[in-house]
């Protein structure tokens, strides 16, 4: 309940008015779970903007996947991240990789949830895409029927880059591609995914993007 109000009263007005979106391909977003949405990651705003793209009724089904070491580093942040934002925390330490790391995600998918994943793993350099980690391929190899939808953001790294806490409004472009199906090979699948993002990025690149 609190979570729905948070998105309705705080996040949606913030995203729609203060930031302002140009969305292309909104129809490609999944309208029911289980499904995975993957996006490039430049800012904390990425999660909030993605959540705001879903209809209000679907919000209880959608969960961002986030790093436990970052979001559970103190009690208040943890309570906020888990209950209000609705993250599913995962342990990204190498020792905990594979089976255990993905278990909560597999459970969520089996419950028909829509997961938001940032395969870069971290926000990184503003407005620059880092190399994708293969966790998403591991996940799909275990649940091959789940569709995966690529979403590319351009401009959010300007609004609220890593390390800044002052939000500066800019119009942001959001490009959504049709869902990709699992092709059975981990390595090959990550290549297909990277190519889908390259294509979205090319359609996004135009003069006026950050040249800092």
């Amino acid at each position: 309940m609190l979570r729905r109000l948070f998105y309705l009263l705080l996040v949606k007005p913030l995203v729609l008015f203060l930031i302002g979106l140009n969305v292309r391909g909104r129809e490609h977003l999944p309208n029911s779970g289980p499904a995975i949405v993957v996006a490039n990651h430049n800012s904390h705003l990425d999660t909030l903007v993605l959540m705001s793209l879903f209809p209000q009724a679907l919000i209880p089904q959608v969960h961002p996947v986030a790093a436990a070491d970052y979001f559970c580093r103190n009690r208040w942040l943890k309570a906020f991240a888990l209950n209000i934002v609705g993250i599913i925390p995962i342990d990204r330490r190498p020792s905990a990789r594979d089976g255990d790391t993905l278990a909560p995600l597999l459970t969520a998918l089996d419950q028909g949830k829509i997961l938001i994943l940032f395969p870069e793993g971290t926000r990184g350099q503003p407005e620059r895409r880092g190399k994708f980690k293969s966790g998403v391929a591991h996940l799909l190899s275990k649940r091959p029927d789940v569709p995966i939808t690529p979403v590319f953001f351009s401009g959010l790294g300007k609004c609220l880059p890593k390390g800044e806490f002052v939000l500066v409004p800019f119009f942001v472009d959001v490009f959504i591609a049709p869902a990709i199906a699992w092709n059975g090979r981990r390595q090959g699948f990550m290549e297909v995914l990277e190519q889908a993002f390259d294509a979205l990025q090319i359609s996004a690149d135009k003069p006026g993007c950050d040249q800092g």
Binding site: G20, P207, G208
Partner: protein, 313 residues
């Protein structure tokens, strides 16, 4: 304020605008029916968006001063955000841009308070001197001049110029017995938009010789003169209803709005051409961005304001 307190001329003005939009809607629907093979969806969308613009404008001028200032301030905010999203900005200037945004509520506060002295010098002097100082505190000198120049130009166009529209509403109503406090703003916006349309129509029907081929290849001398003269005629006809201007002053105002509207239009065109974009944004379906619609007003609002202010306030 209820509609009973509105000057009759303002009520007639809004009724007239609504009637014109009805005609435009009917025309665009009829065209589509007559020629189903052509695609008029952009025209339809354009007219539909016009209805929304007029509705927002009605809210902006008809309720009370606080509402007017807030709505017009938000329009400045959207225009400035659109501008900043188009131009290249330096990552180092993140905080500076935040300060630039803060100038918007402050500027519109001066308007709300009717504080003419600060309204007129705040952005051209205080913000102009403060933002480069803030940049220097950050210390990034690479691209300094371009960064501060583009930032301040944007503030002047999107905030300082456009805030003159809001200040028209706080000028003393008793100086304008015909139109009350909102008469001159309605006059300005109506003539500016009609001028855009008239220049387009004259250019389409008679235009040959190009006036600024490098910036805006579709603009012609015939369009320009036809538009300016049509606007001047309308300006003289409408002036006694909405403004304190005499007939000869109204002729001057019409010529001023006609010429300045053209210059504002091509200035924003030059900006878009420089940045390699067709539209400044996608906020107004069928029109493009908000700057695409406000382009002429960035020039006509301050120039017409000071013309009337000098003559009658």
């Amino acid at each position: 304020m209820t509609s009973i307190n509105l000057p009759l001329s303002v009520q007639i003005a809004f009724a007239g605008i609504a009637l014109m939009l009805c005609i435009a809607s009917c025309l665009s629907i009829t065209l589509q029916h007559r020629r189903p093979e052509c695609d008029y969806s952009e025209l339809r969308q354009r007219v539909r968006t016009w209805w929304i613009i007029v509705a927002v404008f009605a809210v902006a001028v008809l309720i009370n001063r606080a509402t007017s200032v807030i709505v017009l301030g938000l329009i400045s905010f959207l225009a400035f955000k659109e501008y900043l999203s188009l131009i290249p900005t330096r990552r180092a200037d993140h905080r500076v841009l935040f300060w630039a945004y803060l100038a918007i509520p402050v500027q519109y506060y001066w308007v709300w308070a009717g504080w003419y002295g600060l309204f007129i010098i705040f952005i051209p002097i205080y913000v102009f001197l403060w933002l480069p100082m803030r940049m220097i505190l950050i210390g990034e000198t690479q691209g300094f001049l371009r960064a501060i120049g583009t930032l301040h130009w944007g503030l002047m166009i999107c905030v300082f110029s456009l805030s003159h529209m809001a200040f028209m509403l706080v000028l003393p109503a008793e100086n304008n017995p015909g139109g009350g406090s909102m008469g001159i703003l309605i006059y300005l916006i109506f003539l500016t938009e009609i001028n855009d349309v008239a220049q387009y129509l004259w250019g389409k029907s008679l235009g040959k010789r190009k006036i600024v081929p490098k910036v805006s290849p579709n603009k012609t001398f015939a369009g320009f003169w036809g538009g300016v003269l049509s606007t001047a005629v309308l300006a003289v006809l409408l002036a006694p209803w909405l403004t304190p201007l005499t007939r000869i002053e109204a002729l001057g105002a019409g010529l001023l709005i006609g010429v300045a509207g053209f210059v504002g239009d091509v200035t924003i065109s030059a900006l878009k051409r420089d940045l390699g974009v067709k539209n400044s944004g996608s906020l107004l379906p069928g029109h493009g961005g908000i700057l695409d619609r406000l382009d002429s007003l960035t020039y006509t609002a301050p120039l017409f304001f000071h013309y009337v202010y000098f003559l009658h306030y």
